[in-house]
C-alpha cells in the first residue's frame, strides 16, 4: 500500500492489483477525502441564499445525467440525442406515482430514496429498449434513432391526460429523519442528498470502468468488429451501455422532480438533450472528472450571460430580446470553440495542471 513515488515518470506496476487501485498514492487519497469534506461542509460555514443554492443543486443534477451520457458517448462511443428524454422517463416515474396516489402520499414523501432508485431502473429499461437499434445502427443513424425517441417522448407526454398534457405535476415535500423538509431547508437538504448520490454513483462508475464490462465498453468503442473477434459481445455491450446511461438519467430526472417539486415537460426537451451533450463535450469525453467540469462550466456561463444581458438591458432600452439572443449565441460559441481548439475538454486542462504540479520545478 506504500505510495509509489515513481509513478510520475512512467508505469512501474508489477501486478494487476496495483494498476487497479483507485488512488495511486496515499496523498491522492487524502486530497480526495479533503475535497469531499470541503464539499460537505461549505454550506454550513458559508450559507448562501436559496437562489444560488438552487443553481448548485442544478449543477449536481446535471452532473448525474452527464456521468451517464459520458459513459455512453465517451466510453461507449454511442451517440444519444435523447438524454433529456431518459431524464424525463425518470421524472415522470415519480410523477405517475403522484398522479395515482396523490402528491403527498407516504410513498412519495417518505420512501423517496426507493422511488429515486426505481426511477433509475425505469430509465434503464427504456434505455435498453432504445438501445436495441444500436445493435445494428451506427453513428449518424443511431443519433437519429435516439432523436426519434426524444420526439416521440415529447409527443406522448404532451398528448396523454395522465401526464397532465405536459403541464406541471406537483410532487409533495419529502420527510427525513428530522421531519418534514420545510421551505427554508429544501435546497440545502437536496444539496446533501444529491451530493451523496453523486459520490456514490461516481465511485460506482469508477469501479465499473475497471471491470470487464467497462473494458469491453471501451473496446467496442474503439472497434466493435475487433472486439467481436476478441470474444466480446458488441451488441450486448451497446444495449448495456444504453441501459446504464438510462439509469443515470432516470436518477437525475427523479432528483430534478423532487428538487423542483414538480414535473413539467419543458425541462426534458430536445434543447436539454443538446445541452447535456455540450456539457459532456466541454467537460471532456471519456474522462470521469470531465462529467463534473462540464455541467459546472456551462451552468456558470449561463448565469453570467444572463447577468450580462440584464446589464445591457439597463443601458439600452428596447433591446429586450438580447437575453434570448445571447444564450444560444454564447452556448454555440462555447461548443464550437471547445471542439476546434480543445477537443479533449476541460478535463485536459485539469490533467495538464496536475502533471505540472507533480513535476514542478522540472519541465516535462
Amino acid at each position: 500500500m506504500s505510495a509509489n513515488s515513481w509513478l510520475a515518470t512512467g508505469n512501474f506496476h508489477t501486478g494487476y492489483k496495483q494498476e487497479q487501485k483507485t488512488f495511486a498514492s496515499s496523498l491522492d487519497r487524502s486530497i480526495f477525502i479533503l475535497f469531499l469534506l470541503i464539499l460537505f461542509v461549505w454550506p454550513v460555514l458559508f450559507p448562501i441564499s436559496s437562489k444560488y443554492m438552487l443553481v448548485v443543486d442544478n449543477i449536481l443534477v446535471a452532473i448525474v445525467a452527464v456521468i451517464g451520457l459520458n459513459l455512453l458517448l465517451g466510453f461507449g462511443g454511442l451517440i444519444s440525442v435523447g438524454h433529456a428524454a431518459f431524464m424525463g422517463i425518470g421524472a415522470y416515474t415519480v410523477a405517475s406515482f403522484c398522479r395515482t396516489l396523490g402528491d403527498s402520499h407516504v410513498i412519495v414523501t417518505h420512501c423517496w430514496p426507493l422511488l429515486i432508485i426505481l426511477s433509475g431502473f425505469t430509465g434503464a429499461v427504456f434505455g435498453a429498449i432504445v438501445g436495441l437499434p444500436a445493435m445494428r445502427l451506427k453513428h449518424l443513424y443511431l443519433a437519429i434513432a435516439t432523436l426519434s425517441f426524444q420526439i416521440i417522448f415529447e409527443w406522448v407526454i404532451n398528448f396523454m391526460d395522465f401526464f397532465n398534457q405536459g403541464q406541471t405535476i406537483y410532487v409533495g415535500r419529502v420527510y427525513w429523519l428530522t421531519g418534514k423538509i420545510g421551505r427554508s431547508d429544501h435546497y440545502v437538504f437536496w444539496y446533501y442528498a444529491i451530493l451523496t448520490i453523486v459520490v456514490l454513483l461516481g465511485i460506482g462508475v469508477r469501479n465499473i470502468l475497471k471491470t470487464r464490462y467497462g473494458r469491453s465498453l471501451v473496446a467496442v468503442r474503439d472497434n466493435d468488429r475487433a472486439a467481436d473477434a476478441m470474444g466480446m459481445n458488441p451488441g450486448l455491450t451497446k444495449v448495456y451501455a444504453f441501459a446504464l446511461a438510462g439509469f443515470f438519467a432516470g436518477v437525475a430526472g427523479a432528483l430534478h422532480a423532487y428538487l423542483y417539486r414538480g414535473v413539467g415537460f419543458e425541462s426534458f426537451t430536445l434543447h436539454y438533450s443538446v445541452e447535456y451533450l455540450a456539457m459532456a463535450i466541454v467537460g471532456g469525453l471519456g474522462t470521469l472528472n470531465g462529467s463534473f467540469w462540464g455541467p459546472a462550466a456551462l451552468k456558470f456561463l449561463d448565469i453570467q450571460v444572463e447577468h450580462l444581458a440584464e446589464n445591457i438591458d439597463h443601458f439600452m432600452t428596447g433591446a429586450s430580446n438580447l437575453a434570448t439572443a445571447f444564450k444560444p449565441l454564447s452556448f454555440g460559441l462555447v461548443i464550437v470553440l471547445f471542439l476546434m481548439f480543445e477537443p479533449r475538454g476541460i478535463a485536459n486542462w485539469w490533467r495538464i495542471a496536475k502533471s505540472y504540479t507533480k513535476l514542478w520545478p522540472f519541465r516535462y
Binding site: 458517448l73 462511443g77 451517440i79 437499434p133 445494428r136 445502427l137 453513428h139 449518424l140 443513424y141 443519433a143 437519429i144 434513432a145 432523436l147 426519434s148 420526439i151 416521440i152 409527443w155 404532451n158 398528448f159 472497434n223 468488429r225 475487433a226 473477434a229 430536445l270 443538446v274 451533450l277 455540450a278 463535450i281 469525453l285 430580446n321 438580447l322 434570448t324 439572443a325 445571447f326 444564450k327 444560444p328 449565441l329 454564447s330 452556448f331 454555440g332 460559441l333 462555447v334 461548443i335 464550437v336 471542439l339 476546434m340 477537443p343
Partner: protein, 298 residues
C-alpha cells in the same frame, strides 16, 4: 375519395419541399460525410433574407429569391471554410456537435433581428383562388408554383450531378477521396461547393415554405429536424432516396393529419409519425431505402 386525393396532392407538395431541403443535406453527406444540424437555420435564414429583400429593399420576389439563394450560397460556403474545413478527419460526434453549435450561433444571430420572435407573411403575388383538378380536388396557385419550382430545381441538380464537370468531380470525391485527389480534383473545394449548394437549396426551400405557410422562426427551424427522418429514410447518400423519402414523409404527415387527428383522441400526429415510421424502417433496413451498405474492415 376526393378527400384522399386532396391529401395526396397536399402531401406531395409538402413532400417535394422536404425533398429539396433533404437534397442539400444529402449533398453534404455524400461528399464530406458530415450531417449538418444547422440546416433548419439555413432554411430560415434564406426565407428571412428573401422577405427582407422583397419588403424592405423592395425587389420583385423572383429577383429577391435569386439574390437570397446567392447570399446563402456564399454564407454556407464560408461556414464550411471557417468551421468545418479544420475538422476534416475528426470523429463524427465532433462534427455533429460543431454543426449543433453552429445552429445555436445562427439561432442567436437570428434572435437579434425582429425575425426571431415575430411572425410575418409574404405578400401574395399569385391569384388567391385555388385551381380545381376535378373531383373536388384543388391546389392553390402558390402550392402549384412551389411544387413546379422545386421539381425544376431537383431536376436541374440531377442533371448537374450526372453531366457537368463539377458534378462529376463531386461524385468522384464521394466515391473515393484519395483517387479523386490523384486525378487532380481539389477535395476541399468540392466540400465547399457541396455546402454552398446545400445553402442554395436551403434558401429556395425556405422561401417556398415561407410563401406557403408563413414566416415563423420556430416552424422554419423545425424543418431542419424533420428533414433528418427524410434523409435517413432515403439512405443518407442517395439523391433519388432523398426525393422519394421526402414525398413519402410529406404523404405520411398529411395522412396522419387527415385520418388520425381527432379520430382516436389523437392530435399533432404529423409531428411524430415520420419518426415512428423511421424507427420501424430502420429495424428492417438499417441503411434506409436506397443507402449504400458500408463495408467495414477491422
Amino acid at each position: 375519395m376526393s378527400y384522399f386525393f386532396q391529401l395526396v396532392v397536399s402531401g406531395t407538395v409538402v413532400g417535394s419541399i422536404y425533398a429539396l431541403a433533404a437534397l442539400g443535406l444529402v449533398l453534404i453527406y455524400k461528399s464530406s460525410r458530415v450531417a449538418s444540424f444547422a440546416h433548419g437555420q439555413l432554411i430560415a435564414a434564406g426565407a428571412f433574407l428573401t422577405f427582407f429583400m422583397t419588403i424592405t429593399v423592395g425587389m420583385p420576389i423572383y429577383i429577391a429569391l435569386a439574390a437570397s439563394m446567392i447570399i446563402s450560397f456564399f454564407l454556407a460556403m464560408s461556414i464550411e471554410r471557417i468551421f468545418l474545413r479544420r475538422l476534416i478527419g475528426e470523429p463524427i460526434i465532433t462534427v455533429i456537435m460543431v454543426t449543433i453549435g453552429l445552429a445555436s450561433i445562427l439561432d442567436g444571430l437570428i434572435y437579434m433581428t425582429p425575425f426571431g420572435t415575430e411572425n410575418f407573411s409574404f405578400p401574395s403575388f399569385l391569384p388567391l383562388d385555388p385551381i380545381s383538378l376535378g373531383g373536388g380536388v384543388s391546389i392553390s396557385w402558390i402550392q402549384l408554383v412551389g411544387f413546379l419550382f422545386t421539381m425544376g430545381l431537383i431536376a436541374g441538380f440531377s442533371w448537374f450531378f450526372k453531366k457537368s464537370t463539377v458534378g462529376i468531380s463531386m461524385r468522384a470525391v464521394s466515391d473515393d477521396q484519395f483517387a479523386s485527389m490523384s486525378v487532380g480534383i481539389s477535395v476541399p473545394r468540392v466540400f465547399g461547393l457541396a455546402w454552398a449548394t446545400a445553402g442554395l437549396t436551403a434558401a429556395a426551400a425556405g422561401c417556398i415554405i415561407g410563401n406557403i405557410m408563413g414566416l415563423n422562426f420556430d416552424s422554419l427551424k423545425a424543418f431542419g429536424i424533420t428533414v433528418f427522418p427524410v434523409i435517413i429514410l432515403g439512405g443518407l447518400d442517395s439523391i433519388l432516396g432523398a426525393v422519394v423519402a421526402g414525398i413519402i414523409t410529406g404523404l405520411i404527415q398529411q395522412f396522419a393529419t387527415g385520418y388520425l387527428d381527432g379520430n382516436f383522441g389523437l392530435n399533432g400526429t404529423q409531428d411524430v409519425m415520420p419518426y415512428v415510421i423511421l424507427l420501424v424502417i430502420l429495424l428492417f433496413k438499417p441503411h434506409g431505402l436506397f443507402g449504400t451498405h458500408e463495408i467495414e474492415r477491422v
